[in-house]
Symmetry: C2
Subunit: 332 residues, 2 copies
């Protein structure tokens, strides 16, 4: 019996904002599995801001997503057929099989995971790339010391939520920046941050100042734009900024850093990073994050859209901040 795979292709590059017609849903027959290959039924797709960069063909750290091919992206699922000695039917695996119901892999980049104590979807979030991103930026760039004030933007998101919780575990004051009272309440009440500033309330700098009475020692940047300018103005001497995301600029509207002299005046360190270039830290980070999730010491939240066909709209929502926590697409 020939099975059918459903896939979403990128068929055009966005001019400004991403639109539904950048994508196309297609049905394709699943071919026979070749030698050494493994077939995975994807359970969840991960949607992440970095995908927006890959959709453009501007010069970047990574090759652009090719047109008329399956959209890239992280996935978790279950092995349904295997000609590969390392994978058996029923294995749960995390990988980057893209926006499709079935992925076929030679095993490279596919990792078995244990969902006994950690839910499968968490391997795309808090115990996956977003979690490791948070862990690296906080521990390797910001290097917080107890008593310092650490601020993170997009604080209710998959990365930001982990940054603040790890900062709290390190004995710091954790302050989030998020959009809207619901997200801010979640950041404080569920994630345990000391404070959260609602950047949509129209009072960003005064609110941030009030939330950081001792200034800011470390800033984890997921957003860019005006939030970065407000935070820079509160940085203490020798502050460190881990630059992880510039979502505000992805649609081609760069927001300048208006007062660059603060970088010198406060002797700041700014370090941009891409977590896939720091694979050496992944095992240590994942071990620590998985342990914290299993012990319920790390909270997280997911926004789950249903069905492959919902992925484009969910992705557009992610880029405009409509998600709440890690954005996933559930396929099964």
């Amino acid at each position: 019996m020939t099975q059918t795979n459903r896939q979403i292709l990128l068929v055009s590059r966005p001019q400004g904002a991403v639109t539904p017609d950048n994508f196309k849903l297609v049905e394709t027959p699943l071919g026979a599995l070749g030698p050494g290959q493994v077939r995975v039924r994807n359970h969840y797709l991960s949607l992440d801001p970095y995908m927006r960069g890959r959709m453009s063909d501007a010069k970047s750290y990574a090759e652009p997503q090719p047109l008329n091919e399956v959209m890239i992206g992280g996935t978790v699922g279950e092995v349904v057929e295997s000609n590969h000695p390392a994978f058996a039917v029923g294995d749960k695996v995390v990988g980057a099989l893209g926006w499709q119901e079935y992925g076929t892999s030679d095993g490279v980049g596919l990792h078995k995971v244990d969902d006994t104590h950690v839910p499968l979807s968490a391997y795309l979030g808090v115990v996956g790339m977003p979690g490791v991103t948070a862990w690296y930026g906080l521990n390797k760039i910001i290097a917080p010391r107890a008593g310092q004030t650490i601020v993170v933007s997009a604080a209710s998101g998959a990365v930001g939520g982990v940054v603040g919780q790890l900062a709290k575990l390190a004995g710091c004051r954790a302050v989030g920046i998020a959009g809207g009272p619901d997200k801010c309440r979640y950041v404080v009440e569920t994630l345990g941050f000391d404070a959260c500033v609602d950047y949509k309330a129209g009072n960003l700098y005064p609110d941030l100042k009030a939330a950081t009475p001792d200034g800011i020692d470390g800033y984890f940047e997921n957003v860019g734009g005006e939030v970065l300018n407000a935070t820079l103005a509160r940085m203490n001497a020798f502050g460190r900024i881990a630059l992880c995301g510039m979502i505000a600029g992805y649609n081609g509207e760069p927001t300048p850093i208006t007062q660059p002299s603060i970088l010198l005046r406060s002797r700041l360190l700014v370090q941009g990073f891409i977590i896939l270039e720091h694979l050496d830290v992944w095992p240590e980070a994942l071990r620590e994050l998985g342990g914290l999730v299993a012990q319920k010491k790390l909270q997280y939240r997911e926004t789950i859209s249903q069905g492959l066909e919902s992925a484009p709209e969910a992705f557009m929502g992610l880029l405009t901040g409509k998600n709440f926590g890690k954005q996933l697409v559930k396929l099964i």
Copy 2:
């Protein structure tokens, strides 16, 4: 016989550009030397861009220069009277005795120097704070590797000239940015840089691109403003920027960083620094720099104005790029 000291005081804070009436020349009698004190006849005053920051009372890394007191600044001179066991009449000393003909010190911050192989004035430049600034930013932040391209702004200046020459000694391609054909010719022909871009020629970005065919791996920033924006656009992945000066912004006209996303896209490191906070490196740096000067492996140039009364105008010239190499005031 009562001797007279001549001093220049800061009597008002600049509103925008520095003007002559921010300063006042006064004559004061020299009092008797107290116990443990040493009196120095200053031979040279050092004029440096950081002084502009101290003239303002805006929040900064250092206390502002108080009004109606002698302008701060580095000096070299000769001990003319001493009640201090570590200093004898005739000793040559470097210190920070300010804009005056005679300085009186308790010895703290005063260091004996040897002018047998290194000219006295060099201790205010290439073998002084500017030289150590260059050494630190290049070696400790940029950390160049042979074959990389290192760019420095204000390349004909006291700091910039040393940065490029040390980069050449490290096997790098050294590219300067300076104002005008004379400075650029000096940077290439006398200092031995591989190329120099004249930012006044009105073609900054294309000229910089032509001079850095392989992009830029390390940038030593003395200037800020449009030069920083042009350089950022040429930075290679994992580039390092040592942020030492933002002279373009000192008059209260900040120039934004227009495309901050490059910081993330190229995973750049930016580190602001103040050399007085890194006293641990001074002995090693000064030893190396002094050795290179004595061996004639490090070239430098000085612009010397004559007499204490010339200091304000020379300082204003420094801030607008009129000097050529290290700006000094010769008192004797």
